[in-house]
Amino acid sequence: MEMNNIPEMFQSKLRLMIVSGLIKQPLSFTALKQLTGATDGNLSVQISKLTDAGYIIVRKEFSGKKPLTTCELTQYGRDSFRQYVELLNSILAGK
Protein backbone atom coordinates (compact mmCIF):
# COMPACT_ATOMS: atom_id res chain seq x y z
CA MET A 1 0.00 0.00 0.00
CA GLU A 2 1.42 3.37 -1.00
CA MET A 3 0.61 6.70 0.66
CA ASN A 4 -0.89 8.04 -2.57
CA ASN A 5 -2.94 4.86 -2.74
CA ILE A 6 -4.62 5.03 0.69
CA PRO A 7 -7.97 3.23 0.81
CA GLU A 8 -10.79 5.73 0.56
CA MET A 9 -12.10 4.56 3.90
CA PHE A 10 -9.06 5.98 5.72
CA GLN A 11 -9.05 9.29 3.90
CA SER A 12 -11.62 10.66 6.31
CA LYS A 13 -10.47 11.35 9.88
CA LEU A 14 -13.88 10.40 11.25
CA ARG A 15 -13.86 7.01 9.49
CA LEU A 16 -10.33 6.42 10.79
CA MET A 17 -11.53 7.28 14.30
CA ILE A 18 -14.46 4.87 14.02
CA VAL A 19 -12.25 1.98 12.84
CA SER A 20 -9.62 2.76 15.53
CA GLY A 21 -12.30 2.77 18.20
CA LEU A 22 -13.58 -0.61 17.09
CA ILE A 23 -10.20 -2.31 16.87
CA LYS A 24 -10.33 -3.64 20.45
CA GLN A 25 -14.06 -4.13 20.97
CA PRO A 26 -17.49 -3.58 19.47
CA LEU A 27 -19.04 -0.25 20.48
CA SER A 28 -22.55 1.10 20.63
CA PHE A 29 -23.56 4.03 18.42
CA THR A 30 -23.72 6.27 21.50
CA ALA A 31 -20.25 5.20 22.62
CA LEU A 32 -18.88 5.91 19.12
CA LYS A 33 -20.60 9.29 19.16
CA GLN A 34 -18.96 10.18 22.46
CA LEU A 35 -15.63 8.75 21.36
CA THR A 36 -15.49 10.69 18.10
CA GLY A 37 -17.45 13.79 19.08
CA ALA A 38 -19.33 13.58 15.78
CA THR A 39 -22.97 14.50 15.22
CA ASP A 40 -25.60 11.77 14.79
CA GLY A 41 -26.05 12.50 11.09
CA ASN A 42 -22.37 12.62 10.20
CA LEU A 43 -21.63 9.49 12.20
CA SER A 44 -24.51 7.59 10.55
CA VAL A 45 -23.27 8.52 7.08
CA GLN A 46 -19.70 7.39 7.81
CA ILE A 47 -20.88 4.18 9.45
CA SER A 48 -22.98 3.43 6.35
CA LYS A 49 -19.94 3.98 4.11
CA LEU A 50 -17.80 1.69 6.24
CA THR A 51 -20.56 -0.94 6.24
CA ASP A 52 -20.94 -0.75 2.46
CA ALA A 53 -17.19 -1.16 2.06
CA GLY A 54 -17.27 -4.28 4.27
CA TYR A 55 -15.15 -2.75 7.04
CA ILE A 56 -17.74 -2.99 9.80
CA ILE A 57 -21.01 -4.74 10.55
CA VAL A 58 -23.88 -3.08 12.36
CA ARG A 59 -26.15 -4.98 14.73
CA LYS A 60 -29.49 -3.58 15.82
CA GLU A 61 -30.91 -5.06 19.01
CA PHE A 62 -33.14 -4.02 21.85
CA SER A 63 -31.81 -3.31 25.31
CA GLY A 64 -35.05 -3.52 27.28
CA LYS A 65 -37.38 -1.28 25.30
CA LYS A 66 -34.61 0.91 23.90
CA PRO A 67 -32.98 0.16 20.55
CA LEU A 68 -29.26 -0.52 20.77
CA THR A 69 -27.07 -0.21 17.68
CA THR A 70 -23.68 -1.90 17.97
CA CYS A 71 -20.83 -1.66 15.46
CA GLU A 72 -18.17 -4.32 15.05
CA LEU A 73 -15.07 -4.48 12.86
CA THR A 74 -14.93 -7.25 10.23
CA GLN A 75 -11.79 -9.27 9.52
CA TYR A 76 -11.41 -7.37 6.24
CA GLY A 77 -11.63 -4.05 8.10
CA ARG A 78 -9.12 -5.27 10.66
CA ASP A 79 -6.65 -6.39 7.97
CA SER A 80 -7.03 -3.12 6.06
CA PHE A 81 -6.46 -1.13 9.25
CA ARG A 82 -3.35 -3.18 10.06
CA GLN A 83 -1.96 -2.58 6.55
CA TYR A 84 -2.63 1.13 6.89
CA VAL A 85 -0.85 1.32 10.27
CA GLU A 86 2.10 -0.58 8.76
CA LEU A 87 2.20 1.94 5.92
CA LEU A 88 2.18 4.85 8.38
CA ASN A 89 4.99 3.23 10.37
CA SER A 90 7.06 2.68 7.24
CA ILE A 91 6.63 6.34 6.27
CA LEU A 92 7.77 7.46 9.71
CA ALA A 93 10.71 5.04 9.53
CA GLY A 94 11.72 6.71 6.24
CA LYS A 95 11.43 3.57 4.13
Binding site: M3, L16, S20, K24, Q25, Q34, L35, T36
Partner: protein
Protein backbone atom coordinates in the same frame (compact mmCIF):
# COMPACT_ATOMS: atom_id res chain seq x y z
CA UNK B 1 8.71 8.29 -18.90
CA UNK B 2 8.21 11.33 -16.73
CA UNK B 3 10.83 12.76 -14.44
CA UNK B 4 9.63 14.13 -11.06
CA UNK B 5 10.81 17.47 -9.79
CA UNK B 6 12.98 16.75 -6.68
CA UNK B 7 11.51 19.80 -4.88
CA UNK B 8 7.91 18.66 -5.35
CA UNK B 9 8.90 15.09 -4.42
CA UNK B 10 10.42 16.42 -1.19
CA UNK B 11 7.27 18.42 -0.46
CA UNK B 12 5.18 15.29 -1.07
CA UNK B 13 7.30 13.29 1.37
CA UNK B 14 6.95 15.98 4.02
CA UNK B 15 3.19 15.97 3.56
CA UNK B 16 3.17 12.17 3.85
CA UNK B 17 5.18 12.28 7.08
CA UNK B 18 2.90 14.98 8.48
CA UNK B 19 -0.19 12.93 7.61
CA UNK B 20 1.37 9.78 9.07
CA UNK B 21 2.22 11.55 12.35
CA UNK B 22 -1.28 13.00 12.61
CA UNK B 23 -2.97 9.68 11.84
CA UNK B 24 -0.80 7.68 14.26
CA UNK B 25 -1.50 10.21 17.02
CA UNK B 26 -5.22 10.07 16.25
CA UNK B 27 -5.28 6.25 16.24
CA UNK B 28 -3.38 6.10 19.57
CA UNK B 29 -5.70 8.63 21.19
CA UNK B 30 -8.86 6.84 20.05
CA UNK B 31 -7.65 3.35 21.02
CA UNK B 32 -6.61 4.69 24.42
CA UNK B 33 -10.01 6.29 24.96
CA UNK B 34 -11.95 3.27 23.74
CA UNK B 35 -10.33 0.98 26.28
CA UNK B 36 -12.24 -0.45 29.20
CA UNK B 37 -13.36 2.35 31.42
CA UNK B 38 -12.17 1.42 34.88
CA UNK B 39 -13.63 4.51 36.53
CA UNK B 40 -17.03 2.81 36.64
CA UNK B 41 -15.57 -0.23 38.33
CA UNK B 42 -13.51 1.95 40.66
CA UNK B 43 -16.67 3.78 41.72
CA UNK B 44 -18.38 0.46 42.46
CA UNK B 45 -15.50 -0.84 44.58
CA UNK B 46 -15.02 2.40 46.49
CA UNK B 47 -18.69 2.88 47.33
CA UNK B 48 -19.21 -0.78 48.24
CA UNK B 49 -15.96 -1.15 50.24
CA UNK B 50 -16.41 2.14 52.13
CA UNK B 51 -20.05 1.39 52.99
CA UNK B 52 -19.21 -2.10 54.26
CA UNK B 53 -16.23 -0.83 56.27
CA UNK B 54 -18.25 2.02 57.77
CA UNK B 55 -20.99 -0.41 58.72
CA UNK B 56 -18.48 -2.84 60.25
CA UNK B 57 -17.00 -0.03 62.36
CA UNK B 58 -20.48 1.07 63.48
CA UNK B 59 -21.46 -2.56 64.18
CA UNK B 60 -18.31 -3.26 66.24
CA UNK B 61 -18.47 -0.09 68.32
CA UNK B 62 -22.19 -0.42 69.07
CA UNK B 63 -21.91 -4.14 69.89
CA UNK B 64 -18.98 -3.46 72.19
CA UNK B 65 -20.79 -0.67 74.05
CA UNK B 66 -24.03 -2.66 74.40
CA UNK B 67 -22.20 -5.84 75.46
CA UNK B 68 -20.44 -3.92 78.27
CA UNK B 69 -23.41 -1.96 79.50
CA UNK B 70 -26.51 -4.11 78.87
CA UNK B 71 -27.85 -7.58 79.41
CA UNK B 72 -27.34 -10.63 77.21
CA UNK B 73 -30.89 -10.27 75.90
CA UNK B 74 -30.21 -6.69 74.80
CA UNK B 75 -27.07 -7.89 72.99
CA UNK B 76 -29.03 -10.62 71.20
CA UNK B 77 -31.70 -8.09 70.22
CA UNK B 78 -29.05 -5.70 68.97
CA UNK B 79 -27.37 -8.38 66.86
CA UNK B 80 -30.69 -9.07 65.10
CA UNK B 81 -31.19 -5.34 64.46
CA UNK B 82 -27.62 -4.99 63.16
CA UNK B 83 -28.00 -8.02 60.89
CA UNK B 84 -31.21 -6.57 59.44
CA UNK B 85 -29.48 -3.22 59.05
CA UNK B 86 -26.54 -4.84 57.23
CA UNK B 87 -28.93 -6.38 54.70
CA UNK B 88 -30.68 -3.01 54.34
CA UNK B 89 -27.28 -1.42 53.57
CA UNK B 90 -26.60 -4.15 50.97
CA UNK B 91 -30.01 -3.61 49.38
CA UNK B 92 -29.40 0.16 49.28
CA UNK B 93 -26.03 -0.48 47.61
CA UNK B 94 -27.71 -2.79 45.11
CA UNK B 95 -30.26 -0.08 44.24
CA UNK B 96 -27.36 2.35 43.68
CA UNK B 97 -25.63 -0.25 41.49
CA UNK B 98 -28.75 -0.77 39.36
CA UNK B 99 -29.25 2.99 38.94
CA UNK B 100 -25.60 3.49 37.92
CA UNK B 101 -25.83 0.56 35.54
CA UNK B 102 -28.94 2.02 33.91
CA UNK B 103 -27.18 5.36 33.49
CA UNK B 104 -24.13 3.93 31.76
CA UNK B 105 -25.85 1.18 29.75
CA UNK B 106 -26.26 3.22 26.59
CA UNK B 107 -22.99 5.09 26.69
CA UNK B 108 -20.47 2.40 27.57
CA UNK B 109 -18.57 -0.17 25.55
CA UNK B 110 -19.68 -3.78 25.93
CA UNK B 111 -16.55 -5.01 27.74
CA UNK B 112 -16.83 -2.38 30.44
CA UNK B 113 -20.44 -3.37 30.94
CA UNK B 114 -19.53 -7.05 31.16
CA UNK B 115 -16.89 -6.30 33.79
CA UNK B 116 -19.32 -4.09 35.70
CA UNK B 117 -21.98 -6.84 35.59
CA UNK B 118 -19.52 -9.53 36.65
CA UNK B 119 -18.55 -7.57 39.75
CA UNK B 120 -22.17 -6.71 40.43
CA UNK B 121 -22.92 -10.44 40.58
CA UNK B 122 -19.80 -11.11 42.69
CA UNK B 123 -20.67 -8.42 45.24
CA UNK B 124 -24.42 -8.87 45.52
CA UNK B 125 -25.15 -12.55 44.79
CA UNK B 126 -23.54 -13.80 48.06
CA UNK B 127 -25.64 -11.28 50.03
CA UNK B 128 -28.79 -12.53 48.28
CA UNK B 129 -27.87 -16.16 49.04
CA UNK B 130 -27.12 -15.20 52.66
CA UNK B 131 -30.52 -13.52 53.06
CA UNK B 132 -32.19 -16.66 51.67
CA UNK B 133 -30.20 -18.82 54.13
CA UNK B 134 -31.21 -16.59 57.04
CA UNK B 135 -34.86 -16.73 56.00
CA UNK B 136 -34.66 -20.53 55.73
CA UNK B 137 -32.96 -20.56 59.13
CA UNK B 138 -35.86 -18.58 60.61
CA UNK B 139 -38.39 -21.01 59.18
CA UNK B 140 -36.43 -24.21 59.84
CA UNK B 141 -33.89 -23.70 62.65
CA UNK B 142 -30.87 -25.85 61.91
CA UNK B 143 -27.17 -25.87 62.65
CA UNK B 144 -26.50 -26.46 58.98
CA UNK B 145 -27.80 -22.96 58.21
CA UNK B 146 -25.07 -21.46 60.43
CA UNK B 147 -22.48 -23.61 58.68
CA UNK B 148 -23.94 -22.71 55.31
CA UNK B 149 -23.71 -18.99 56.09
CA UNK B 150 -20.11 -19.14 57.28
CA UNK B 151 -18.99 -21.44 54.47
CA UNK B 152 -20.58 -19.00 52.02
CA UNK B 153 -18.24 -16.35 53.37
CA UNK B 154 -15.21 -18.56 52.63
CA UNK B 155 -16.47 -19.35 49.15
CA UNK B 156 -17.09 -15.65 48.53
CA UNK B 157 -13.52 -14.82 49.51
CA UNK B 158 -12.08 -17.48 47.18
CA UNK B 159 -14.36 -16.48 44.30
CA UNK B 160 -13.51 -12.80 44.73
CA UNK B 161 -9.75 -13.56 44.68
CA UNK B 162 -10.23 -15.49 41.43
CA UNK B 163 -12.30 -12.64 40.02
CA UNK B 164 -9.63 -10.07 40.96
CA UNK B 165 -7.07 -12.25 39.18
CA UNK B 166 -9.09 -12.53 35.97
CA UNK B 167 -10.03 -8.85 36.07
CA UNK B 168 -6.30 -8.11 36.23
CA UNK B 169 -5.70 -10.46 33.31
CA UNK B 170 -8.58 -8.93 31.35
CA UNK B 171 -7.42 -5.35 31.71
CA UNK B 172 -3.73 -6.25 31.43
CA UNK B 173 -2.80 -5.32 35.00
CA UNK B 174 0.03 -7.40 36.44
CA UNK B 175 -0.26 -5.60 39.80
CA UNK B 176 -3.86 -6.74 40.22
CA UNK B 177 -2.91 -10.31 39.27
CA UNK B 178 -0.08 -10.40 41.84
CA UNK B 179 -2.35 -9.00 44.59
CA UNK B 180 -4.98 -11.62 43.73
CA UNK B 181 -2.38 -14.39 43.85
CA UNK B 182 -1.18 -13.19 47.29
CA UNK B 183 -4.78 -13.09 48.55
CA UNK B 184 -5.38 -16.58 47.18
CA UNK B 185 -2.31 -17.86 49.04
CA UNK B 186 -3.58 -16.11 52.19
CA UNK B 187 -6.93 -17.90 51.80
CA UNK B 188 -5.88 -21.41 52.92
CA UNK B 189 -3.52 -19.84 55.48
CA UNK B 190 -6.46 -17.96 57.01
CA UNK B 191 -8.42 -21.16 57.00
CA UNK B 192 -5.73 -23.37 58.52
CA UNK B 193 -4.31 -21.19 61.32
CA UNK B 194 -5.98 -22.60 64.44
CA UNK B 195 -7.50 -20.39 67.09
CA UNK B 196 -6.71 -21.24 70.74
CA UNK B 197 -10.23 -22.50 71.41
CA UNK B 198 -10.10 -24.99 68.55
CA UNK B 199 -7.93 -28.01 69.31
CA UNK B 200 -9.00 -30.34 66.52
CA UNK B 201 -10.82 -32.74 68.84
CA UNK B 202 -13.44 -35.15 67.51
CA UNK B 203 -16.62 -33.40 66.50
CA UNK B 204 -19.23 -35.66 68.01
CA UNK B 205 -19.80 -33.65 71.19
CA UNK B 206 -21.91 -30.53 71.50
CA UNK B 207 -19.05 -28.61 73.10
CA UNK B 208 -16.78 -29.47 70.19
CA UNK B 209 -19.45 -28.38 67.75
CA UNK B 210 -19.69 -25.06 69.55
CA UNK B 211 -15.94 -24.68 69.24
CA UNK B 212 -16.24 -25.26 65.51
CA UNK B 213 -18.98 -22.61 65.29
CA UNK B 214 -16.77 -20.19 67.19
CA UNK B 215 -13.86 -21.06 64.91
CA UNK B 216 -15.90 -20.48 61.77
CA UNK B 217 -17.34 -17.24 63.12
CA UNK B 218 -13.89 -15.91 64.01
CA UNK B 219 -12.59 -16.76 60.52
CA UNK B 220 -15.72 -15.25 59.03
CA UNK B 221 -15.09 -12.00 60.91
CA UNK B 222 -11.47 -11.96 59.73
CA UNK B 223 -12.58 -12.31 56.11
CA UNK B 224 -15.34 -9.73 56.62
CA UNK B 225 -12.70 -7.30 57.82
CA UNK B 226 -10.24 -8.10 55.02
CA UNK B 227 -12.62 -7.85 52.06
CA UNK B 228 -13.62 -4.15 52.39
CA UNK B 229 -9.93 -3.24 52.28
CA UNK B 230 -9.54 -5.36 49.14
CA UNK B 231 -12.50 -3.51 47.57
CA UNK B 232 -11.22 -0.07 48.56
CA UNK B 233 -7.72 -0.95 47.30
CA UNK B 234 -9.13 -2.10 43.97
CA UNK B 235 -11.32 1.00 43.80
CA UNK B 236 -8.38 3.37 44.27
CA UNK B 237 -6.28 1.38 41.81
CA UNK B 238 -9.03 1.32 39.15
CA UNK B 239 -9.70 5.05 39.54
CA UNK B 240 -5.99 5.86 39.21
CA UNK B 241 -5.43 3.55 36.24
CA UNK B 242 -8.12 5.01 34.02
CA UNK B 243 -8.81 8.64 34.68
CA UNK B 244 -10.52 11.08 32.32
CA UNK B 245 -12.32 8.64 30.10
CA UNK B 246 -13.94 9.98 26.95
CA UNK B 247 -17.28 8.72 28.25
CA UNK B 248 -17.19 11.13 31.18
CA UNK B 249 -19.01 10.47 34.41
CA UNK B 250 -22.53 11.11 35.58
Amino acid sequence: MTQQNPASENQGNEANVKTAIEDIALIKRIINHAEINLRRLGWLFLVYGSAILAFLAFDSILSFVVARTSSLQSSAGLSIILMTLSYAVSIALFVLFVRKRRNIRQSENVYTMKLFDLWGVMLFAPVAIEIVLVLIGLAVPSRNIVFGKTLLSFMKYGAICICVFFTGHYIGSRTMMIIAAVLLILFPVLFLIPFPFFDGAELNETADMLRVYAYFNAKNNLISLLLPFVYIGMGIYSMKKQRGSVYGDE
